[in-house]
Amino acid sequence: MSAGLKTSSTIFAALLTCLAAAAPLALSAYDLNLLARFMSFALLAMGIVLIWGYCGILSLGQGVFFGLGAYAIAMHMKLAALPQGSVPDFMMWSGRESLPWWWAPLESGLVAVIAVFVVPAVFAGLFAFLVFSRRVGGTYFALITQALALAFATLLVSRQGATGGFNGLTNFSTLFGMDINASGRDVQLYLVTLALLVLTYFGLTMLLNSRFGLLLRASRDGENRVRFLGFNPTPLKVAAFAIAGMLAGLSGALFTVHAGNISPAMVGVVPSIEMVIWVAVGGRYSLIGAIAGAIFLNFARDWISSAFPTLWLYFIGALFILTVTLLPSGLAGLVTQNLRKTPAAP
């Protein structure tokens, strides 16, 4: 990447940040809430750029890590609103009288925040290690992650008494001792999300331009060559996948706070693969592209599926086909095509 382009994209990012920071002044409360949700998705989308664009790992199971973060914070919010020693309403309906052991620690806000970051990262890292250390990758990895997404969502639905089942968790009132519905809270939460988004963007930019990022790209383009040069690609890929998992978890937690609910419908096979299309449309090699893809596609979804409910699946189906065949580097690829040579597809 040339020095000139680097500065120009930093300036571009800074401008976008200012624009986004001013959004609460211009948008209605409803639109601001939507924007905040979709910006949470953008965190996950940047994780997909890291693993898919720069590492060549296609994950069709990011919804699982999204769900781990989302359920961690949702469980905390459920517990925080309860008097000591009682169980959430849905557990009582299922005839459960005591909390499952894995609920109890989340009563503490600190534990919940740590869990949002650590649980998805550790789970993603462990999963990736088991698969990558045996040099299974590519299509096989994608299929295994899809099976993981299916198993995770089915498990959530079937354990009604412990997870809220099909309806998931909802009706939150407090977060870290604050009233979540107080006026002005939505703007604060939006700004927190924006700050995390900007931090992640610059953090990932630095990471991708480091030696680590270089090795990731090298093992994407020729894993065995990297081995012959004396590097072991497995820990690199595991680390990248764990980071993407952590971002997905954070994304899930933020989404849950903004949306006020989380259910298995958000974490299964179909949502997981839709997360990939955000990035495919935005541009798998571009962080800004992924952010834009996540935000615009979700606004488009909101608009199309309310105006023409049956058209959405045709639209997204066609989008999958057309982006991948005609525009493999996404919209960002179109923009940067004239500025520099886009990274070759793996």
């Binding site: 299929l143 899809q146 989008l319 065949t325 597809a345």
Partner: protein, 301 residues
């Protein structure tokens, strides 16, 4: 444990394995040749199911289920040909992009089915001779019930497997397929029309999935998303089976089908699903190449 329950589940497992196998065979053959997975393969099952429904609507006779199989095979093979020649062929050497593009096809086909046949699904009434069951009431197998539909599934699967093995082992098409599977460049250099082989094998695999759809229709209603519930385990069968091997695919379908059914004696369906996934990941620790490893000196397949 109740022995009869065990035998019943064993038999259930065999018929689940049969469905996994029929769904996975086409995927596995094409994967061996082109290194791509068609994510719309599950919709070939769905298509087969709807074609069975239409056939039985038009010709309601006890044996029209066989006509349905023929139509389902041809219909699914035709749609497979369309997908291969318009989409998959364009994405050579981009296996991950093929996954995404064919997923798009899958979404469109599901929505089409929803618009044409409605979201609830249609019921295919199995002919009477398939609605019976063999019950053993005495002896040490007492309590074992074998529905004839499940027996039928086993027979059909065995027949398909035998026919396919025969085609691969004995015909000229099979010879060319094996050659392309072994070394694509060399095969092309010796004048084998590898692109046409790709297309034919893809059609054949889609057709088999269509056939499996007819069988699915005998077990439950055909819904727009009926393919989805069988295709994910079928993907795992392919992952575990090894590159393009019919034998490997059969063995892994059997293992996963039996694990799924037998574990359901102790746990519910969702836990069984998790168990299958854990098993596949553990299996890959021992044999990352799958049940049958391809013989090759190349490092990058």
């Amino acid at each position: 444990m109740d022995f009869a329950l065990f035998v019943n589940q064993l038999f259930n497992g065999l018929s689940v394995a049969s469905l996994y196998l029929l769904a996975a065979l086409g995927l596995s053959l094409s994967f061996g040749l082109m290194r791509v997975i068609n994510m719309a393969h599950g919709e070939m099952l769905m298509l087969g199911g709807y074609l069975a429904f239409l056939t039985l609507q038009i010709v309601p006779s006890p044996i029209s289920i066989f006509a349905a199989m023929v139509f389902a095979f041809l219909g699914a093979a035709f749609v497979g040909a369309l997908i291969q020649s318009t989409l998959v062929r364009r994405l050579t050497d981009r296996p991950l992009d093929t996954l995404l593009a064919t997923w798009g096809v899958s979404l469109i086909l599901q929505q089409l089915a929803r618009d044409v046949f409605g979201p609830i699904g249609v019921e295919v009434r199995a002919p009477d001779w398939l609605n019976q069951s063999i019950q053993i009431t005495s002896g040490f197998l007492s309590g074992v019930t074998i529905p004839s539909a499940r027996l039928f599934i086993l027979l059909v699967t065995a027949a398909v497997l035998a026919a396919l093995a025969l085609v691969i082992a004995k015909t000229r098409l099979g010879l060319l397929t094996r050659a392309t599977n072994q070394d694509r460049m060399m095969a092309a250099a010796s004048g084998i029309p590898v692109k046409r082989i790709d297309l034919i094998v893809f059609c054949l695999g889609s057709g088999i999935a269509g056939l499996a759809g007819v069988i699915l229709a005998l077990l439950g209603p055909v819904t727009p998303s009926v393919g989805q519930s069988y295709i994910v385990p079928a993907f795992l069968v392919v992952v575990m089976g090894g590159l393009g091997s019919i034998f490997g695919t059969t063995v892994s379908a059997l293992i996963l089908g039996l694990i799924s059914a037998l574990s359901q004696i102790f746990v519910d369906v969702s836990a069984a699903q998790m168990l299958i996934l854990v098993f596949v990941i553990l299996f890959l620790q021992v044999r990352p190449q799958g049940v049958v490893a391809p013989q090759s000196r190349t490092l990058d397949f």
